[in-house]
Each structure stands twice: as structure tokens, then as C-alpha cells.
């Protein structure tokens, strides 16, 4: 019975995306209803499937010929994150998007993007990965340009050009892999690589994958599109882009290919650590000086993605160079847990910025002030999210950062731990600035009439804030074995992925 549900994860958003323009041109409210129902049902399915580990062959074709979808610990975790954030974002957008015309087009593109991301994290086939990657990317280009003003168009064009270069590089890498091994199925590729000789072509493919997925994930040498594209999109879309898109298309795909398909080596691990540390530092120092709220958040996304890549890369490095197994597991756990946490608090922050923009009409921190009494709920959720991202104890960001720091110490890299702590302090500094300028101080004349954001938007904020507060609980023994450890196991298994998948077939 459960396997029947797997295709629905892609089919429901796709069906919704094409059904909405058919019916909701006349009856506007249908777009809201269908959009929210689609994301809600996908969320329910993702939760139902959480414990399922299986390989699903599309069309009943044998895996060596056809396309397979693989559900393992990491995919399941990503699916739940994607579906949760997209449901909250649709909840938020049903009122927020009133200001834009053609709301049904928005939902249509949104659901396409969700379908693409779900596909990316489920697929076990290289070319299928590329197709879903492009579905999600193309929808996101259009969504960045959705406002249709000067800045949006410019940002979307920049994003489109850079991300298309990334996709082309990914396709080139896939072509190399196919040329070298003759397979497109990830498990078969992995097996062929393990048994066959390691040719230089594989290294070239890895370079292409790293650059291609690195562009999608906005890791530092490839980041310039992100601080333009993420703030320009409407707030729910910024939340989706920053919260899940760069993770699903960038980090997930990169780690899946490097760890499970090609197999991590110390060199790849070192590259990941370098990129991660660089993103962490550069992102945060660029963020401190920003006065545009959303732009500041976008730079912090780069920095926080650095944490994730650093954690996962450190784990891979220790694993591949034969270091302490427990430290490696801990580092990967930190990376993945931070990925989950970041998607929650960063989408919450972007939704808060959308809520403030909805009420005050501005994104400039200097023009705000004194919103404390006017928007108590927004203020409370914003404080929670800010403390989370800065890593203040009870909230989720603290735990994942702590794990990464502990892993760095255990693995014998205290300077990485020091760097992590330093970046964490700068993050705290910049969010104190946000709280100080947006909510304290005196209220400017122009903002006297500001009111709290509407009900549905507030509900979305509160849901995410609850997650922010409670996700630290995932680390208590029972929950950790159930939710986080399978994901870590899937990555740490390395090329053992091939056996695991072939056994499930």
C-alpha cells in the first residue's frame, strides 16, 4: 500500500500545477484552496512514508533499464522538510500574495517547484535528477521575476544565467559519467566505479558536479546570484528558495553524488571543508553591513550553508582518511541537523520579513523602528528565529552548531571549531542589529497605522516558531535514532549505497 503513495509525491504537485490554471481563472479562491490542499496532502504523504525504505521502479521497468526512485533515510528527511516548508509557505501566501495580480500563476509555478524538488530528493537515476533539477530551477527563475519590476527582472536574469551554467555543467558531468561507466542508475554507476579503474574522467566529472551543484547551492566562489535573487522574490518564495531549494538542488544533490555515487576521498572532503569554511566566513561578514532586511537574510543563507557543507565535508574527510568513525558520524549528523534547522528558521525569518513588509511597506531596517507594540506576534517569532540562527541555547540552531563544534574538536581540528564559534558570534551581532532597529527604538510617524499581519500569515509564523523551539528535542535518544540517524547512516554508508539499493530492489 505504501509504495502506491510514492509517485503521488510528484504527481499531486504536478497535477495541481496544471489544474489550477484550468479552473481558477474565473473562481479566484480555487487557486488558494487547491494550492494549500496539494501541499498539505504531500506533507501528509511524506510523513506517512517516513519509515519506508524502498526502491520504486517507474513503469515496472527493471532498474538497469528504467528509472528508479529510492527512498532512504536522507531522502525521507529531505522530503519531510521540503513538504513542511512548502505547506507553511502556501499558507502564508494565500493572504500575502493578494497584492500581486495573477495569483493562480504563482501557485502553478510554486507547485511545479515543489514537484521538482520532491523528484530531486527521491530519484535514483542521474539523468532523472537533472530533469527534476531543471523543473525546479526553471520554476524558480520565473518566481524570482514574479514581481516584474526593475530589481526583480535584473535579479532573475542574473540568477538564470548563472544557474543555467550550473545545470549545463551538471549535464556535462552526467555525460562524462555515462561515458565512463555506461550506466545512468546511481547504484549501478557506483558499483561500476568501485569495481572498475578510477579514470581521470571521473575527477573531471566531480569537478563539474562540484561547480554545477555549488552554483545551485550558492557556495562562496559561486554565490553572487543569491543576495540578489532571494530578496527580490515575494516573501514566501524567498522562504522556499532559501529554506529548501538551495538545499535540495545544491547540498543534497552534491552530497548524494559525492558520497554515494562516486565515493568520497580525502581530497573531495578537503575541498568541501574549504568551500564550507569560506562560505561561512565570507557570507557572514558581507551580511553584517546590510541594511536591507531580506538582503541581510540572504547573505546569512550563504553563511549557514557553509556550516552544513563544513559539517558534511568534515565527516567525509574523516571517513575517507580513516579517522575516528564516531567523530565522522557526529560531523555528518551536525551538518544534516543544521540543514534541517536552517530550513526552518531561515524560512521563518523570510516570512517575518514578508510580514513586516506587508504591514509597513518597507524592507529597510533604518526606516523601521518601534514595531514592538504594533506587531507583538511578529516580534516574538522574529526573536525566536534570530536566536536560533545565532545559536543561543534553547533553540534548534544552538544544538546543531554545538554538534559541529564538538565533531571538529573530536576529529582534531580545533581551528575549525574556533572559526565556527567566531562566525556564530558575528551572526548574533547582526541579528541583534535587526531586532534593535526593527522592533525597538521609537516608531516613525509614517508607521503609526501599522497593524499585525492577518490571521493565516500569523499562523504560519507561529507553526515555524514552534518547530524552532522544539527541534532540539530531536537529539534526545529515541527521536535521534528514528529521525536523524538514518539520514546520517545513508550518507556515511558511502558507496555501500549501491549494495543497499541493489538489495532492496
Amino acid at each position: 500500500m505504501n509504495t502506491l503513495l510514492i509517485p503521488l509525491l510528484v504527481a499531486i504537485p504536478l497535477g495541481g500545477a496544471f489544474f489550477i490554471p484550468l479552473v481558477s481563472r474565473k473562481v479566484r479562491v480555487l487557486a488558494d484552496i487547491i494550492g494549500n490542499l496539494a501541499t498539505l496532502s504531500v506533507l501528509v504523504i511524506a510523513v506517512l512514508l517516513f519509515q519506508v525504505r524502498t526502491v520504486y521502479s517507474i513503469g515496472g521497468w527493471n532498474a538497469s533499464v528504467g528509472i528508479t526512485w529510492v527512498l532512504d533515510g536522507f531522502s525521507n528527511l529531505m522530503l519531510v522538510i521540503i513538504c513542511l516548508i512548502s505547506f507553511v509557505a502556501t499558507l502564508f501566501s494565500s493572504q500575502y500574495m493578494e497584492r500581486y495580480t495573477a495569483k493562480y500563476k504563482f501557485y502553478s509555478l510554486f507547485l511545479l517547484m515543489v514537484a521538482g524538488m520532491n523528484g530531486v530528493v527521491m530519484t535514483g537515476d542521474m539523468f532523472n535528477l537533472f530533469v527534476f533539477l531543471e523543473i525546479a530551477s526553471v520554476a524558480s527563475y520565473a518566481l524570482v521575476a514574479f514581481g516584474g519590476n526593475h530589481e526583480e527582472l535584473e535579479a532573475a536574469f542574473k540568477y538564470l544565467v548563472l544557474a543555467s551554467i550550473g545545470s549545463t555543467l551538471v549535464l556535462f558531468g552526467i555525460a562524462f559519467i555515462y561515458g565512463a561507466t555506461g550506466y545512468l542508475n546511481m547504484a549501478s554507476i557506483s558499483q561500476a566505479i568501485r569495481t572498475g579503474p578510477r579514470t581521470p574522467i571521473l575527477t573531471l566529472a566531480v569537478v563539474f558536479f562540484t561547480v554545477g551543484f555549488g552554483i545551485k547551492a550558492a557556495l562562496v566562489p559561486f554565490h553572487p546570484w543569491l543576495p540578489d535573487a532571494h530578496p527580490s522574490a515575494p516573501a514566501p518564495i524567498s522562504a522556499m528558495l532559501s529554506g529548501v531549494l538551495i538545499k535540495a538542488l545544491g547540498i543534497y544533490a552534491l552530497t548524494r553524488v559525492l558520497f554515494n555515487v562516486i565515493g568520497i576521498t580525502p581530497i573531495y572532503g578537503a575541498v568541501l571543508i574549504t568551500i564550507g569554511a569560506l562560505s561561512m566566513v565570507v557570507g557572514v561578514f558581507l551580511a553584517v553591513g546590510q541594511w536591507d532586511f531580506k538582503r541581510l537574510l540572504a547573505y546569512h543563507s550563504i553563511s549557514q550553508m557553509g556550516y552544513v557543507v563544513l559539517g558534511i565535508g568534515l565527516g567525509g574527510y574523516i571517513l575517507a582518511s580513516g579517522g575516528k568513525q564516531s567523530a565522522a558520524m557526529l560531523a555528518i549528523l551536525g551538518g544534516i541537523f543544521h540543514l534541517a534547522n536552517h530550513s526552518v528558521f531561515k524560512s521563518l525569518l523570510f516570512l517575518v520579513s514578508g510580514s513586516i513588509e506587508y504591514s509597513t511597506g518597507t524592507r529597510q531596517l533604518k526606516e523601521m523602528g518601534g514595531l514592538l507594540e504594533k506587531m507583538p506576534l511578529t516580534r516574538a517569532t522574529c526573536t525566536i528565529a534570530s536566536l536560533s540562527i545565532a545559536g543561543v541555547p534553547p533553540f534548534n540552531g544552538f544544538w546543531s552548531k554545538l554538534i559541529i563544534i564538538m565533531a571538529a574538536f573530536q576529529g582534531g581540528y580545533p581551528w575549525l571549531a574556533a572559526l565556527t564559534i567566531l562566525v556564530s558570534f558575528v551572526t548574533l551581532l547582526s541579528f541583534i542589529k535587526v531586532l534593535r532597529y526593527a522592533f525597538l527604538g521609537h516608531l516613525p510617524e509614517s508607521l503609526k497605522a501599522v497593524r499585525e499581519s492577518p490571521a493565516l500569515m500569523s499562523i504560519a509564523l507561529v507553526v515555524l516558531a514552534i518547530f524552532c523551539t522544539c527541534m532540539g528535542l530531536l537529539l534526545i535518544p529515541g527521536a535521534r535514532e528514528m529521525i536523524l540517524d538514518p539520514a546520517v547512516g545513508a550518507l556515511a554508508n558511502g558507496v555501500g549505497y549501491a549494495q543497499a539499493v541493489l538489495a532492496l530492489r
Partner: protein
Amino acid sequence: MVYALCFVLFVIGLYCTLTKKNIVKIVIGLTIMEYAVNLFLVLLGYRKDGVAPIVEEGAGPLEFLARSVDPLPQALVVTSIVIGLGVTTLAIALCVRLYEKYGTFDISEIRRLKG
């Protein structure tokens, strides 16, 4: 050798994308890159004196396998062409809109976003 030519074509596209100032030329550069990869994929499946991979009446599967070129890259290329079409269309639509807003195709004059 032939593969190297694909790579050269790819680099030409990349150069065009990264150095040209006119946004339409940038889109052309993207398209050249796409097609370099497509060409590479098709060449991967090529075999000397191969026939088109279409099963005809009376031909057995083994005979077919012995003679035809690899059909899989061709399927991939068709898909990738369709995706390329989508991306190019979106890019062109953005160019049109940008021209409408800014009155120019020059990328160095389209820079409102800073920081």
C-alpha cells in the same frame, strides 16, 4: 579528438556568456553551451557505420544490438533540448521585459542591485 572539439565549443559558449555585454548575446552563449553538451552526449553513443536505433519488422533484437548506435544518449538529448527550449524562452522573455523597463540591452547599464 572529437570530444575535445565539444569542449572547445563549450568554452566558446562560456566565454560568450561571461564577457559579452549584450544580454541577448549572453542568452546565445548559454544556448551554445547547452548544445555543446548535447553534441557530446550524441557523440558518446555514436558507433561507426551504425544505423538509427529503430527496430524494424523482421530484425531480431541481437542483430539490432549489433548494428545500431546507442539509443539512450539520443533520448537524453531530446529531453535536454526540450529543457533548453524552456530555459531559452524564459531568458528571452526576461530580456524583453528588461528592455521594456530599462530601455537597453547593455548589462552594464542594468545594475540597480548593489551591496
